[in-house]
Symmetry: C2
Subunit: 337 residues, 2 copies
């Protein structure tokens, strides 16, 4: 790898002159010299040593993307197609802005922090973190942080959140189900916080607006860990006659549930309607095709990266960004009277 020093030697000038050309410091280098250097740089395909540059500048040009892995049925979060699309969106945006991405997949925030300080990472995108994790990280790390789908009022004091209008998306879907004659609608999730809580609120609101009373027994708890999922699925299937429709917080859960129902001879949507949230491949390729709430995951990644880049450039950004959703009506909802 050729260095500035070597280039300067060969061109018989000082390293500062070469450096000035590289950084386009106008008025400090004559046009003649500038041209000569630029041609030479191109000829030898000069690539700056980023370690040296970062050391001198005390920056890193690195943005960290930290994914908190969860041990569940699908081993960890990374297996959901959702995740890879998100990564793709972030990577593309960051790369186009001249930054580099480092990916950490870990449930250990201490480990992430060690990584981040080792590399002097300029900014951080957190995904899959619990609210507390985000706050913990932000206390140690004094640079911009953008979280994806990790919101709470407390968290927003510490970092920017990029998410969806989860409440509205769910509201729209429940309203649609009600318009199709459904009244006994269950809500299936694995927890009642963060994103899922927002969706639960949308669910409750839609019921309320339609004059249907919310019953806590209509919250169906799924346990995603591999040693528990079959049992929780069995319980839910056993209770399926209590409902005419089930809203699932993800397409993955929706399709998983439909499989479990199908295995028990319960037909979707004839005997029960099922809807999901995400609109990914899983539901698109399923037959009957899944009725779901669409979100643009790639846009989420891009928005998160963009927001972080803006912060790095010193611009103000809103501390809460909600991307829109829309309904995708397909074939897993039956109209009833």
């Amino acid at each position: 790898m050729i260095t500035i020093k070597e280039i300067a030697r060969q061109l018989n000038m000082s390293t500062t002159t070469v450096s000035n050309v590289i950084h386009g410091k106008a008025g400090e280098v004559s046009d003649d010299t500038k041209k000569k250097v630029e041609e030479f740089l191109k000829k030898v395909d000069y690539v700056p040593n980023i370690n040296a540059r970062n050391l001198a500048q005390n920056e890193s040009k690195i943005i960290g993307l930290a994914l908190k892995a969860r041990a569940d049925k699908y081993e960890n979060l990374i297996m959901d197609p959702f995740v890879s699309v998100l990564i793709g969106g972030v990577e593309e945006t960051i790369r186009n802005a001249g930054y580099f991405m480092m990916l950490y997949i870990s449930s250990d925030t201490d480990e992430i922090m060690r990584h981040v300080s080792t590399w002097n990472v300029d900014g951080l995108i957190l995904f899959g973190m619990l609210n507390d994790d985000g706050i913990r990280v932000s206390e140690k790390y004094k640079k911009p942080i953008v979280c994806i789908d990790t919101y709470s009022l407390e968290g927003l004091k510490h970092f920017t959140n990029v998410g969806l209008d989860d409440e509205q998306g769910t509201y729209d879907m429940i309203k649609y189900l009600i318009s199709q004659g459904h009244k006994k609608i269950a809500f299936l999730s694995d927890n009642q916080s963060g994103v899922d809580l927002a969706r639960l609120n949308g669910y409750k609101k839609a019921l309320k607006d339609a004059g249907i009373k919310y019953k806590s027994s209509n919250f169906l708890q799924i346990h995603p860990k591999s040693d528990e999922i079959d049992e929780s699925l069995a319980e839910i299937c056993d209770r399926s006659k209590e409902f005419t429709a089930i809203f699932c917080v993800s397409d993955l859960y929706a399709v998983t549930l439909i499989s479990a129902l199908t295995d028990r001879g319960i037909n979707v949507p004839e005997e029960i309607s099922i809807v999901g949230f995400d609109d990914n491949m899983l539901g698109q390729l399923h037959r009957p095709a899944l009725t779901t709430v669409h979100q643009d995951v790639k846009a989420k990644g891009i928005t998160a990266a963009d927001t972080l880049l803006k912060q790095l450039a010193g611009h103000k950004t809103p501390n809460q960004i909600k991307l829109p959703t829309h309904l995708v009506i397909r074939d897993t909802v039956r109209k009833i009277n």
Copy 2:
């Protein structure tokens, strides 16, 4: 961030002494001093500045994972769940070995090379590359390269390949189909090179061993680009009566095909048997559940990373590693007479 220099000043000793303790240079530091330094390091939570270290050492502790994005129906490769699992396996292995992972998603090998030389990346894992890309990269980049699923005799002169025994896996599946009474078996793929060629060879061999003649018209070409996929799917469905079974080179294609067939009122497996390759979520959650060839994608990522780490440590590794596969018999194959 505290530096060695500052630590040395506070402890009233030289930076070399501190550095020696950090690197565990036995016999060069007295036990007393060692203890004193170690306690201080822990107290101030010292993290070395990796830019400085890399600059001094001319290494980077970075392993690059380059994914070649393909523009097709699902926008790009990254959307296949396959990819995120692979990334997960690589990341975990690398992290545990004290290395860091940088991810590039790009179809531009020049861009990747620029990135790699900027960061002085210690080793490279390539996935989704064509054989030529791998060779091109290896000509410029003089450090260890491991490719995943990119094999050919020419390529193996330049880099290590980690893949499957694709021929055997396909052979086993075709043999199974034949054992179920199938004779008119089609092979569906989007190309006839690399991995797909190996699978095609396994297909041909199994036919030959069973005394069935290979007909080139039984190679079903699918065009994955978004503006072509529906048309190619329609063609394939139209010809479906010519076959009793179709072997698809991926679960994604298998499930996509089943959806297309279902939409045309053609039932699987009653009217035609479909099998896939990969054994991912898509086929597992599908009903009827997909009969397929299982591969351990995470193991692939881990093996690729392990192999590269071994090479970085100066060990010899075989230049071709084939992971085993096994059949997963589920519900998309009908026994016929």
